[in-house]
Symmetry: D3
Subunit: 241 residues, 6 copies
Amino acid sequence: MRIVVTNCNTTRAMTDEIVRGARAAAGPGTTVTGLTPAWGPESAEGWLDSHLSAAAVLDTLRTYEGPYDAVVMAGFGEHGREGARELVDVPVVDITEAAAHLACLLGRRYGVVTTLDRSRGQIEDSLRTAGVDRNCAAVVGTGLHVLDVDASLRTEEAFVAAAERACAAGAEVLVLGCAGMTGLRRAVADRLGLPVVDGVAAAVKLAESLVGLGLTTSRAGGYAKPLPKRRSWGAPADDRP
Amino acid sequence: MRIVVTNCNTTRAMTDEIVRGARAAAGPGTTVTGLTPAWGPESAEGWLDSHLSAAAVLDTLRTYEGPYDAVVMAGFGEHGREGARELVDVPVVDITEAAAHLACLLGRRYGVVTTLDRSRGQIEDSLRTAGVDRNCAAVVGTGLHVLDVDASLRTEEAFVAAAERACAAGAEVLVLGCAGMTGLRRAVADRLGLPVVDGVAAAVKLAESLVGLGLTTSRAGGYAKPLPKRRSWGAPADDRP
Amino acid sequence: MRIVVTNCNTTRAMTDEIVRGARAAAGPGTTVTGLTPAWGPESAEGWLDSHLSAAAVLDTLRTYEGPYDAVVMAGFGEHGREGARELVDVPVVDITEAAAHLACLLGRRYGVVTTLDRSRGQIEDSLRTAGVDRNCAAVVGTGLHVLDVDASLRTEEAFVAAAERACAAGAEVLVLGCAGMTGLRRAVADRLGLPVVDGVAAAVKLAESLVGLGLTTSRAGGYAKPLPKRRSWGAPADDRP
Amino acid sequence: MRIVVTNCNTTRAMTDEIVRGARAAAGPGTTVTGLTPAWGPESAEGWLDSHLSAAAVLDTLRTYEGPYDAVVMAGFGEHGREGARELVDVPVVDITEAAAHLACLLGRRYGVVTTLDRSRGQIEDSLRTAGVDRNCAAVVGTGLHVLDVDASLRTEEAFVAAAERACAAGAEVLVLGCAGMTGLRRAVADRLGLPVVDGVAAAVKLAESLVGLGLTTSRAGGYAKPLPKRRSWGAPADDRP
Amino acid sequence: MRIVVTNCNTTRAMTDEIVRGARAAAGPGTTVTGLTPAWGPESAEGWLDSHLSAAAVLDTLRTYEGPYDAVVMAGFGEHGREGARELVDVPVVDITEAAAHLACLLGRRYGVVTTLDRSRGQIEDSLRTAGVDRNCAAVVGTGLHVLDVDASLRTEEAFVAAAERACAAGAEVLVLGCAGMTGLRRAVADRLGLPVVDGVAAAVKLAESLVGLGLTTSRAGGYAKPLPKRRSWGAPADDRP
Amino acid sequence: MRIVVTNCNTTRAMTDEIVRGARAAAGPGTTVTGLTPAWGPESAEGWLDSHLSAAAVLDTLRTYEGPYDAVVMAGFGEHGREGARELVDVPVVDITEAAAHLACLLGRRYGVVTTLDRSRGQIEDSLRTAGVDRNCAAVVGTGLHVLDVDASLRTEEAFVAAAERACAAGAEVLVLGCAGMTGLRRAVADRLGLPVVDGVAAAVKLAESLVGLGLTTSRAGGYAKPLPKRRSWGAPADDRP
């Protein structure tokens, strides 16, 4: 099985980290290919970045020639999920919803620990429109920028502190609310004694599950194929500022 | 990986059918063992049956000596899920929630097609407490009894008719709202041109996913281990009516 | 009028305390009979206990020969309510919902003070499925085990402390979230200056109300009579571990 | 026990009918006194009437010298309930909420059958703010004016037809959505084979329940006593148009 | 364009302050007329006052001979809005909903800062029934009485303190939850660095918008014209206590 | 006051129609400038188009040198609203939310009549995240493509038919769920006898209202200014397929 994982930003080092996480989660017969958008934001932090990222990721998917069996969208709380479902004929799983789906199976309420507080609203909306917000106790920010999340003790401390606030709000399970945090999962889980779900890993398993069962996106209604029409993906070259 | 699948009733033929469906869905390294409660209802159709079934299934799990890596609970809309999460140290996935989780990934709204209308309320409550009811467009009954569901054209017709009502209410994906329907999935999907999710298969994949990622139920809060105390599981023999 | 009150556990002393509370609430022409399940948990604390309790209580009702005019189910947050509505032809009132119904008439928001924190989820779900959760401000645990609730100052202090947390969350009325606390109601009410509702007393009054008005459970839809079929209530004697 | 029942309009014949219904429901030691506002609308049909009625009913209660142990407010879907809770020191039960509370105990979903369609919004809001709307399947109008509801076959037919629409929407229990319909309850119940709840009767039983348990409105928060200040209840006489 | 602004209480000084605020907000071609009810409470603080106020305001509108193009109802959280929509043929905008509508356009969540805590429930209900509560993070009281709100530093401090609690609950925009606070808006906005919406100003702009677009209240369904019938607005003169 | 209106697609004729509608709604001192994205879809019909449109519209705004006092985003149900709020320092009003805000003031429930059924999900989500979905009775499609909506009788008939379905679901007010329909508003309103709200006109009035009151987007929390970072808006020219 061939899974394509799309980073939501243009930072190749982050794609590499995401691919490492995806491969660690993938089953024996699964290959993982990472895609980095050729345009968009270097990191997605806020609505503007998210809207830009969505178009760039869709452009990336649109021009990728495959072949592949499923798409994992690795932007936590970022837009584009539904457009990808229209675009491709294989299952699409977004890491935001994926982490939440698995978290629901592990405890009564889950909490999301993310980077900047400004991303909380997008994550709440993304969980809501995916239909999996009901058992979310809290979305909590660490104050870290996306590109500052690393394997350092400082990152770990920030996540543990934020996780404790999520637990005080009722979370029994934690979700890592950013891609590229796979390395952090074990440390946080050990320190808190709670299950911690990484969205990239969760999305890989859900994508494998759907492909394994021969299931793909419904074409009835919301996710019908895009209509044929004129579309251009970026300004004409001589208009670029 | 060893998955135990618990039937919710005492009908061994139904356990066999469920195990067949589970094995068809399982990955290469997964073994499936079916358990049939030694007591309880011969089929679960309504609240009384569901409450009786829950205790019988928990008794079955409690006295099963394993070893196993995950539990799949194969009663659609039946009680007991949360008690099983307290009882065992491995992940527990109920087919009701499992089907709904996967269905959310495949379309904007899903519909459940079940047996008797009287089961609709239990299914609605089960989806709600699992946190995955938000995108459920409708739960529709076929009027068939649990033990009458088979591979006949009559069953197929009843499912297609009910599915059409679910689609009229907005469903873009269908969930088979009963265990032991694996054989029906393909026929209904073909006739309707929609993805159809079987709960047993979905639960097997989700159980494999959780085990593969080293995740299990949180012990913080709701699903702490049962307290040690006196419990008896059924009336003393000489009190049996 | 003859009301049967079912304890949800096997502890006869608790049945006695519940019956005392029920009789204190009952009107002049009402007689109260307490039933103690012959099997089940000695106290219901958590989901496993609750599922076991539900089957045991239904078995108790099923084999009780009456006659009686209404059933009060005296397990706060425990399962079984809907099954009992299917089973018997008289009104069934659960103390969880009963307390909440009356509390809604006494203030804008109510809070529930219960025993262990682990029971909060069950109580929240029970209020939700009964349709009376909307005005619930909080469900708060005291940390006391069910069998440790008594008339001591320690119990009283624990309830007052938990009640203050419920008030901080917006509660204007309190509900005692455990059966067998009738003695506590007055003390807590006096110390807090708030109405405090005991579920057993509330359920007795609601049962009397329904019987007085000639109303009983609808057989249309959800609570139709159980279908005739083979059911066994506990393992065969020689299978008992 | 002395219950005061306030009609919401100035039509004395309707007060008489309401008092008859209240007395039929009341227990042996209960006396019922009906109050008819000295001003307000002759029937409450719509928001303007409802707002006018609320002030008139509060004026009636304010100037009634009692003594009494509880108030039943007999306007279905009309305003004023919360103001009455502030005003008097005894329990206040509104027939809208009362019928819904009892209906929740009798089936999974209830439906309200009322007079004019224009009243549906008020009833929905009243159930919502009372916290008891969750299990309401539908509020359906008969097209009858309040003062045209009588014991005729025409009225009965209109109620049965509307009730059938409520059942199609999922109602398993019916609520008569108007005061002064007590006579209709039995006929509709017999024809439909469903429990039918009359709000006046329900409110009397709930008022008796609260008084019997020594419970009254919380003064903490929302329903604190009205502050002393200048208030006038109606225009100066020489300003009357 | 001629806008009539109705104060909800009998205090003419407050009408004057409201009219000043309305005129400051009004566009060049708009004239503002303030109406003070001839009866009712001197300030609306709680449900009883609110119900009394609603009838008095409707009586004021009913007997006002105009002409006018829109009505602004200047009682924050007070009743009567829907009745006014039935009564007059021009658009009606209530300051509660108006402030919330504009606040939704300015941030993800808004908070309301009001006078007494006892008014919070009414405001929550008013936002809910207006359909604009979804993004309300909190309704917070300052502890000030309506007639004590002034341009003093004490008032300002109380508002800032309450606003900070609203922000802690997630508010990104503030709503002044009382009429006659126009003078306070600038000071609070400057100190907190947040947009602050005054309901009177907001309602004037929304009324101008509706009139400008030729839109007025729908007569289909909920806000049909009041039926012709006997209504009296206050007790007969010789019955006045 | 200078309002910039952004079309969501690249069809200049549609920008012209939108600008005509905006100017018809604008007050005397308001100038309207229409912007057409240099890239994106020729019409936005579905999620992929919407995500592409959002980035193109943000790019258009980012490179527009103004000056201007407010932005109206004229894509009904399209993405980008929140990103625009981060990007510019003036108020941003989206026609989806604008129409719904005004519709709430005109009736108890509103309905949206849009083009293709496939857009319903986006509109529902857009109303929900704007906080103004509560009173939406239905979103109904006409089956018309965006570029086929015109002043013909065929268009009018399609809208009237869809509107009748919305009314059957409870709508008392209608919203035209597409930009460039201004001409249709009067005809539909006349035929149905209901208020009909055009989003472009509504958004112009709300933008004027915010500017008139000196209000703009909160920078606290969700809509903080975009962080400075590398972003590119479209693929490098030599990568274009």
